[in-house]
């Protein structure tokens, strides 16, 4: 038996449980419940109640991405620089949450922000009025940022870490003050990491599921929650087809952004997870 045959269980499994299911999504997306070809499934999203969710998803994902960039860039910059005694442990500490259960982290966030939660207890203790955080857009965006921040830090950190420090000295040498060093050299040179980070935050944020529901008491659903709703709760006889067309759109959106990423960063310098 040739050794290459050892890969056949792998090929079979991945075909059956990674490729074929996606083909099912494609099939359902373009058919009616009776199996006839149709494009009407995609028209569903023009309906106001769905369109509103999609727009909200895009808006929240955008806020989340911008905030992650604003918080994540300096964090990555400081991590990549010299100056902390235990940089390595710090890197691990900041990246660890990335690998941790999204639900648990959101649940923890809820505990903190809830009407009767720790934050409000603390506010009351110092004599301030309670604030209503859960249910607001702010809470949802905060939950998204909390979950996806490490995904922004990692690629930027990777690029900055690889950057030759003498390039910064060269810029200073040629007349850049510290601010200009950052704007003219550090940021342009870390662009692949930035693009990678934006993709790695924006994409999962758009499709995020459960985070928003939990932090808004079910008031503000995002695209992921919508998919869940269509498949599991709606009574529409076309629900598999509509749900599939929506999932397919998400997938295509992501493939496009990966294509874009490859173009900006062909050597995968950003070291993204993909």
């Amino acid at each position: 038996m040739k050794r290459s045959w050892y890969a056949s269980p792998y090929a079979l499994w991945m075909l059956l449980f990674a490729v074929v299911p996606l083909l099912f999504v494609c099939w359902y997306a373009f058919t009616t419940p009776e199996g006839a070809f149709t494009l009407t499934n995609f028209q569903e999203f023009a309906k106001p109640r769905y369109a509103a969710v999609i727009l909200r998803s895009l808006k929240h994902a955008l806020y989340c991405t911008v905030l992650c960039l604003v918080i994540g860039y300096p964090t990555a910059y400081f991590l990549a620089g010299r100056g902390f005694n235990h940089t390595q442990s710090l890197v691990v500490l900041i990246l660890l949450p990335m690998w941790m259960n999204l639900l648990l982290r959101t649940y923890a966030m809820m505990t903190l922000l809830d009407d009767n939660g720790v934050l409000n207890a603390a506010l009351q203790a110092i004599g301030l009025p309670k604030v209503k955080v859960i249910g607001t857009e702010g809470a949802v965006v905060m939950g998204l940022v909390y979950n996806y921040l490490p995904f922004m830090v990692l690629p930027i950190y990777t690029v900055l870490k690889k950057m030759d420090y003498s390039v910064i000295e060269a810029a200073e040498d040629l007349g850049c003050n510290p601010l200009r060093v950052v704007t003219r050299v550090v940021i342009p040179m870390s662009l692949p990491g930035i693009v990678s980070g934006i993709t790695m935050v924006f994409m999962p944020a758009v499709t995020s599921f459960a985070i928003s529901t939990l932090l808004s008491n079910g008031k503000l659903r995002l695209a992921g929650d919508l998919i869940d709703y269509i498949f599991n709760q709606s009574s529409n006889p076309n629900r598999w087809n509509i749900g599939s067309s929506f999932s397919l759109m998400m997938l295509v959106l992501i493939l496009i952004s990966i294509g874009f990423l490859r173009k900006v960063d062909p050597d995968n310098e950003g070291g993204g997870l993909w």
Binding site: P21, F78, L103
Partner: protein, 262 residues
Amino acid sequence: MRNSRGVRTFRTVWMALVLIFLYAPILVMIALSFNASVSRSQWTGFTLDWYVKVFHDPSILGALRTTVEVAVIATVVSTVIGTLGAIGMHAMNTNMANVLINVSYLPMTTPDIVTGVSLMLMFLFAKVPLGKWTMIMAHIAFDIPYVLFSVMPKLRQMNPNLYEAALDLGCHPLKALYKVIIPEIMPGIFTGTLLAFTMSLDDFVISYFTSSDMYPNLSRIVYSSTKLGVKPTMYAVSTMMFVSILLLLVLINRRTKLEDMG
């Protein structure tokens, strides 16, 4: 470096704030799991009651069993399939291997929710009732790439003549596999196993779509409980999950750098 004092202070404060942001919710939750009061707003004393309750709650114990069972089976199967796959692809010509490797990027690239929905569609179409076994199938599928990407580098580092030397010395190919190749790539297999196990324990979204309320895992129990209001037992469950995942991650990080993975 010629950093002024101001810059250094700013940097320290900034990193401290980021760490507080990332860890405060988790630490608060862990603290609350030891709080004698049901209320989240006051600390009335240390207790282990919630942990005791967890181990007397049949639904939580059932979920724990499901979670561990799924993780163990999925890890074992994906380790075998992934390792064999890596060995097979290593022996193939590069074009063919590249195609197969790219298939592994698929579940890593696809958003979890789409993966979950797609598997659910397939199972429903094939009239397979959603439950523990469908969840296991799904977990194996997303665990395999982690094993593959941990084993592949070790195979590439291996001296290509090693296997041939074993054959040359009269070793049967199958024997050469477990006498020579497997010991050589063992560290990679072990890392892959740990990663697969962690990912299985950790998963919420894909499990949610490929299983049903009849066979909940721990994440699902936590998720459903949020609809009924928060119970401190859930803090205890979450804390235990956090700590076990954290320990696994620290263990993995000691073997490979987390930031180099993926």
